[in-house]
């Protein structure tokens, strides 16, 4: 427990260290999420168009 608190305290630099890691985490996740969502939307749109072409 004490070791864990010490770990999160980062020798008094907790704010700087965890902010840096936090921002990095958010930016890296966003960079995966954006193309993932875009790919899913595009595939759905292409499939929709294919269905429309077939029915017409």
């Amino acid at each position: 427990m004490e070791a864990l608190r010490e770990f999160f305290n980062m020798g008094g630099y907790a704010f700087y260290v965890w902010s840096a890691y936090g921002v990095t985490f958010i930016v890296l996740v966003a960079n995966v999420a954006v193309p993932f969502i875009r790919a899913r939307e595009l595939r759905a749109r292409l499939a929709r168009q294919a269905r429309m072409e077939r029915s017409s």
Binding site: Y16, A20, L42
Partner: protein
């Protein structure tokens, strides 16, 4: 070998091969990141001068390296698109810009968060920091050109020219800490004969650098695949794919 690269240049084969590669790349990236974080945050000892604050190095330095690496790839791909009109090169250049901008942003922010406790300030207008900020604006310029110009060929050409002009900035960033007196500390790792860093810190740093590099290739592939599908949506193979056959 050459047929492999030739096939990779065709959008259809690129889409197929990259789809098979992607899960492996993503998995190895995640493993390396976990290993790097364990080594950097838990295993490595505190620095004798900077205490625990130096642990920002494990994301700051790889981000800064990636900001330069991706820029060079983007400019080279842009040049290949300009000269040989390789469609896929244009796609790589366009997809690299937002990832490179992200890493430049991270290098600046994590550096700032490291500078405050060590230098007493979040920001100084010195050579290293200013040239890295300029790099961010170059990325914004490339992203802006892609967003503003409707015709993709024209946009790629304009962005490639801007990226190539901006390459001048890359050696300036790299050597800025040697050419000018600056608050930024000198190179730690690139003095290969005698890196001034202990192995317990160097190893997680290099693992994180490799993880960031693979992360870039993973996201680049994700973006490039979507872009290829979008550009080729009228072609037979995409229609076939959309029909689910």
């Amino acid at each position: 070998m050459w047929t492999f690269f030739h096939q990779l240049g065709s959008p259809k084969h690129f889409y197929r091969i990259s789809g098979r590669l992607l899960p492996w790349l993503a998995g190895i990236t995640a493993l390396l990141m976990a290993a790097g974080l364990y080594g950097g945050l838990i295993n490595a000892p505190p620095d004798y001068q900077q205490g625990e604050s130096y642990r920002i190095i494990f994301i700051h330095v790889p981000s800064a390296w990636m900001s330069l690496f991706i820029y060079v790839i983007m400019a080279a791909a842009g040049a290949a698109g300009l000269i040989w009109r390789v469609k896929l090169a244009d796609v790589v250049a366009a997809a690299s810009a937002p990832i490179g901008a992200s890493f430049t942003f991270l290098a600046l922010v994590t550096g700032s968060l490291w500078g405050k406790p060590m230098w007493g300030t979040y920001w100084v207008w010195d050579a290293r920091l200013t040239s890295e900020l300029l790099l961010l604006f170059l990325y914004f310029g490339v992203i802006g050109l892609h967003a503003a110009i409707e015709d993709k060929r024209t946009a790629s050409r304009a962005a490639a020219v801007l990226a190539l002009v901006g390459v001048v900035n890359i050696p300036i960033i790299h050597f800025s800490v040697q050419w000018w007196s600056t608050l930024h500390q000198g190179p730690t790792v690139s003095k290969l004969d005698a890196p001034s860093i202990h192995l317990s810190m160097l190893v997680p740093l290099l693992i994180m650098a490799l993880a960031f590099k693979l992360y870039y290739f993973t996201v680049l592939l994700m973006r490039a695949r979507t872009e290829v599908l979008e550009r080729e949506r009228a072609s037979a193979w995409v229609r076939e794919l959309a029909r689910g056959t």
